[in-house]
């Protein structure tokens, strides 16, 4: 019975372009015929695929997206497929590590400063480098062995009430080879991996004059910076600090931004710093 329906009929059915009576007969088949149901599922998957690839005709896309907007489950499947297609396309164009770099450029986390700011960043990084020269030399050898790529991304919220949603962030540190990339991303990574962290303070978050940044790993607190001032660039507020990532092993690290002078008070947001090979 199901064989009488060609693929094109299924698409028309799924796009809700069939007259009521024909649609009803398709629905009956959908419920009563298992094989037909699988065909419908496959046709729906094709629509998702084509929508993700951008190969639906404008009319089809309009009808499909209208349905997507009213069906959260379908919207989620489409979002996942789009990410799948995008990730593959990125990987086909760039080496894997460069993909993360290109994506991080899109994050609004990082302000886009001029060259002067980039130069200032490098200067600060160099000063810090001099201060910790011995340690960094020791860690340099270790870094060569680890080849870790620090990545900062948002983790699960600490709690629904106290964790506003923030953007995903990546720090593919070793990808920052040139001033141009450094400028675009505004992430200071000196040769010895002094990583500048800029944590944007979401506008809806409780504002504070002073902030604390805590980075923790399995072995405990790696960085604790108190009384950091909120900085302003245009309409964006952010807190800036630096950390030496050369000794990081692959793994997950918590990055906590808390309002006030101490990490235990104020509104809390958390990101996860992931160092991976």
């Amino acid at each position: 019975m199901h064989g009488i329906h060609a693929t094109v009929d299924l698409r028309i059915f799924l796009l809700k372009r069939l007259p009521e009576d024909e649609s009803a007969s398709m629905e009956e088949l959908l419920i009563t015929d298992e094989e037909f149901f699988h065909q419908v599922q496959a046709a729906e998957d094709e629509l998702i695929e084509e929508c993700a690839l951008g190969t639906l005709s404008p009319d089809e896309e309009e009808d499909f997206l209208r349905d997507v907007n009213r069906r959260p489950g379908l919207a989620e499947r489409l979002a996942v497929r789009k990410a799948f297609v995008k990730a593959l396309a990125s990987q086909a164009q760039h080496p894997v590590q460069e993909v993360a770099a290109s994506r991080s450029a899109r994050n609004r986390w990082f302000l886009v400063p001029g060259m002067g700011v980039a130069a200032s960043l490098l200067l600060v990084a160099c000063l810090l480098l001099l201060r910790t020269k011995h340690d960094l030399q020791m860690q340099l050898a270790q870094r060569e062995r680890i080849h870790a790529t620090p990545v900062l991304e948002r983790s699960a919220p600490l709690s629904a009430a106290a964790s506003p949603v923030v953007a995903t962030v990546f720090f593919p540190a070793h990808a920052f080879r040139g001033v141009e990339e450094l400028t675009a991303l505004h992430v200071g990574v000196a040769p010895a991996r002094l990583l500048e962290l800029q944590l944007e303070i979401p506008s809806e978050t409780q504002q504070s004059a002073r902030w604390t940044v805590t980075v923790t790993g399995k072995k405990g607190v790696l960085l604790l910076q108190n009384d950091l001032p909120a900085q302003q660039a245009g309409s964006v507020s952010f807190v800036r600090t630096y950390m030496d990532t050369s000794a990081l092993e692959p793994g997950q690290y918590g990055v906590l931004l808390s309002a006030g002078g101490a990490a235990t008070s104020g509104e809390r947001m958390q990101w996860t710093l992931v160092a991976s090979k």
Binding site: I31, K82, A89, R103, T168
Partner: protein, 196 residues
């Protein structure tokens, strides 16, 4: 027979009439269970397609009503066909509009776990890349090649890819479908873990 109504007088599915419902599918309990699960999946799809938010609850409502008819002594030949009629009725009932978000009472919806927001594109992309990286290199390579072409070149590209792998186009499509499902499932698990 066990009482099938609750304190408010609403009909409730009991173990006894659930067994009777299963028996209506097939005398073999294993086969009956398979058909029950299959029908439930299709009913959920039916209600989802009609844009009801609580498609699962409505599918269960269909089963409740079918079981009630069986308990009342109605002889049901083909459960699936019967269930379709009930499903249409359930969908048409005005009272079930209350199942839709926009028409539900506030206190009723307050007791329902809010659906998760669609994850951000970047979060999805990050999870996707991790899941792709977790696959063997050969799998990633196949997926990249399969999705390498666009537009008019796509069909010819995939035909050539199948030929180069000494696979039929159908076999290649199935292989990619399986790999893609595994990657997408990995992403969904990851998003659940991170609460996104």
């Amino acid at each position: 027979m066990q009482e099938a109504t609750d304190k408010r007088g609403s009909w409730q599915l009991t173990q006894e009439n659930f067994d009777a419902l299963l028996a209506a599918f097939d005398a073999d309990r294993g086969e009956a269970g398979r058909r029950y699960e299959g029908l439930r999946e299709r009913l959920v799809f039916f209600f989802n397609r009609r844009q009801f938010t609580l498609a699962d609850a409505l599918a269960d409502e269909v089963f409740n009503r079918v079981a009630k008819r069986i308990q009342e002594g109605e002889l049901i030949g083909a459960v699936e066909a019967y269930a379709y009629g009930v499903a249409r009725h359930v969908a048409q009932e005005g009272v079930l509009r209350d199942f839709r978000d926009q028409r539900a009472e506030a206190d009723y919806m307050g007791n329902i776990v809010a659906s998760k927001c669609t994850p951000t594109e970047d979060a999805l992309l990050a999870a996707m890349e991790k899941c792709l990286e977790a696959r063997p290199a050969a799998d990633r390579d196949l997926l990249r090649k399969y999705y390498a072409a666009r537009g008019r070149e796509l069909i010819e590209h995939r035909r050539q890819l199948a030929a180069s792998l000494k696979l039929s186009q159908g076999a290649l499509r199935k292989q990619v479908f399986r790999l893609r499902n595994a990657v997408e499932e990995c992403v969904r698990s990851m998003m659940k873990e991170t609460g996104d």
